[in-house]
């Protein structure tokens, strides 16, 4: 079903926010990649991370678990987490798993940046 491939790119915006562009699948096999991307994103000394899920292809229940781990980690470090680019299926998934109650979900990158940086 899945090819277990994932590309993650970390970008910095205005020195206070990191955007992680997600391309591919999030499953148990990509735990190290996600951890590394998170570390890279926080290494800039930022206070917010936004995940760009517009090219997320597939996520299974283990992948959702990994996102929960990232959220917990971010909370401990007082880093806010947001997401944008979720299609209808992934929005419904976030609702079912109630991730939408802790992830700030936005429609576009501009919305996310405005909300987090007040630009």
């Amino acid at each position: 079903m899945t090819n277990n491939q994932l590309d993650l790119t970390v970008r910095q915006v205005k020195g206070r926010l990191s955007i992680i562009d997600v391309v591919g699948d999030i499953t148990a096999f990509v735990e190290d990649q996600l951890q590394n991307a998170y570390l890279q994103a926080t290494s800039f000394g930022i206070d917010s991370i936004v995940w760009n899920f517009s090219k997320l292809n597939f996520i299974n229940s283990s992948g959702i678990g990994l996102l929960v781990v990232m959220l917990i980690r971010a909370r401990k470090q007082n880093v806010r987490m947001g997401a944008y680019g979720l299609n209808e299926h992934f929005k419904r998934l976030f609702e079912m798993t109630r991730l939408n109650e802790v992830f700030n979900v936005f429609e576009t990158e501009d919305d996310a940046i405005s909300a987090f940086l007040g630009a």
């Binding site: 292809n57 597939f58 229940s61 401990k76 991730l99």
Partner: protein, 254 residues
């Protein structure tokens, strides 16, 4: 990294449809229909106690079946592999996304004593694929979160695994997990399940390993309110009132 629409559809059909509240359409014979209908599902983010990830694993040494075949067997006989103190009722359609699985469990009142306190509840199948499935708990269940049952092929070696990511739901359950033996009982249950799955695959003598990681040791005091939906408390009162309900029915009968 390009993926076909067909692959996307398959991925989507693995997941249950989101629900606001659990809708119980059919109750298996003998199951207690309590603490499920109308309840919301809860993730590890909504519970009360520290967040634990517990992974139970068994090596199915020399097994002839593929990971997919072992999972097929596990899904088909899931209730059979449970110990009597964690009674799962088979669902009519089996392990499918969105399916409600009823559970009548008992838990110990004190450490190292028999399980006597009833807890009637259940779980909802949230995700299913060829080699895994995940169930999510409803409000009032002892734990808030999910359990993933999977079979993995690691370079030709087959492993069966139960992994939970959950917090105790409220202070009563947290006390039970910490001091009254619920945690030990939970470990016993999953060891039993994996050992019996292994036996069904023709594997004996393998031991179950357990890895326990505290992902977040914070108590979420904002979730104390969950106590009002405690399935254990409600089940005890429901059972105690059984003679009264029976008498009431006798009196009303013409």
């Amino acid at each position: 990294m390009e993926t076909s629409d067909e692959q996307k559809e398959q991925g989507q059909s693995s997941w249950a449809r989101p629900i606001d509240q659990i809708d119980v359409k059919e109750v298996p014979i003998g199951a207690t229909n309590l603490n499920l209908a109308g309840r919301r599902l809860v993730s590890p983010l909504q519970g009360f106690g520290p967040l634990w990830q517990k992974t139970y694993r068994i090596h199915l040494t020399g097994v002839k079946q593929t990971a997919g075949e072992v999972m097929q067997l596990w899904k088909a006989r899931f209730p059979e592999f449970q110990p009597k103190e964690n009674h799962f009722y088979p669902s009519m359609v089996g392990i499918r996304p969105g399916e409600v699985l009823f559970i009548d469990a008992t838990v110990p009142a004190l450490p190292n004593t028999p399980s006597v306190l009833p807890v009637a509840s259940g779980v909802v199948v949230m995700y299913v694929d060829d080699t895994s499935f995940t169930v999510m708990t409803p409000e009032g269940f002892p734990e808030s979160g999910w359990n993933t049952f999977s079979v993995q092929d690691d370079h030709g070696e087959i492993y069966a695994q139960v992994q939970s990511m959950a917090r105790s739901t409220d202070p009563i359950y947290e006390l039970a997990f910490r001091f009254l033996g619920s945690s030990e009982q939970q470990e016993k249950v999953w060891r039993y399940v994996l050992t019996h799955l292994a036996t069904a695959c023709g594997v004996t003598g393998e031991t179950v390993t357990m890895e326990k990681i505290c992902l977040d040791n914070k108590i979420q005091w904002s979730q104390v309110k969950n106590i009002w939906r405690n399935a254990g408390v409600k089940t005890v009162f429901f059972k105690l009132a059984t003679p009264l309900r029976w008498a009431g029915r006798r009196i009303r009968r013409p």
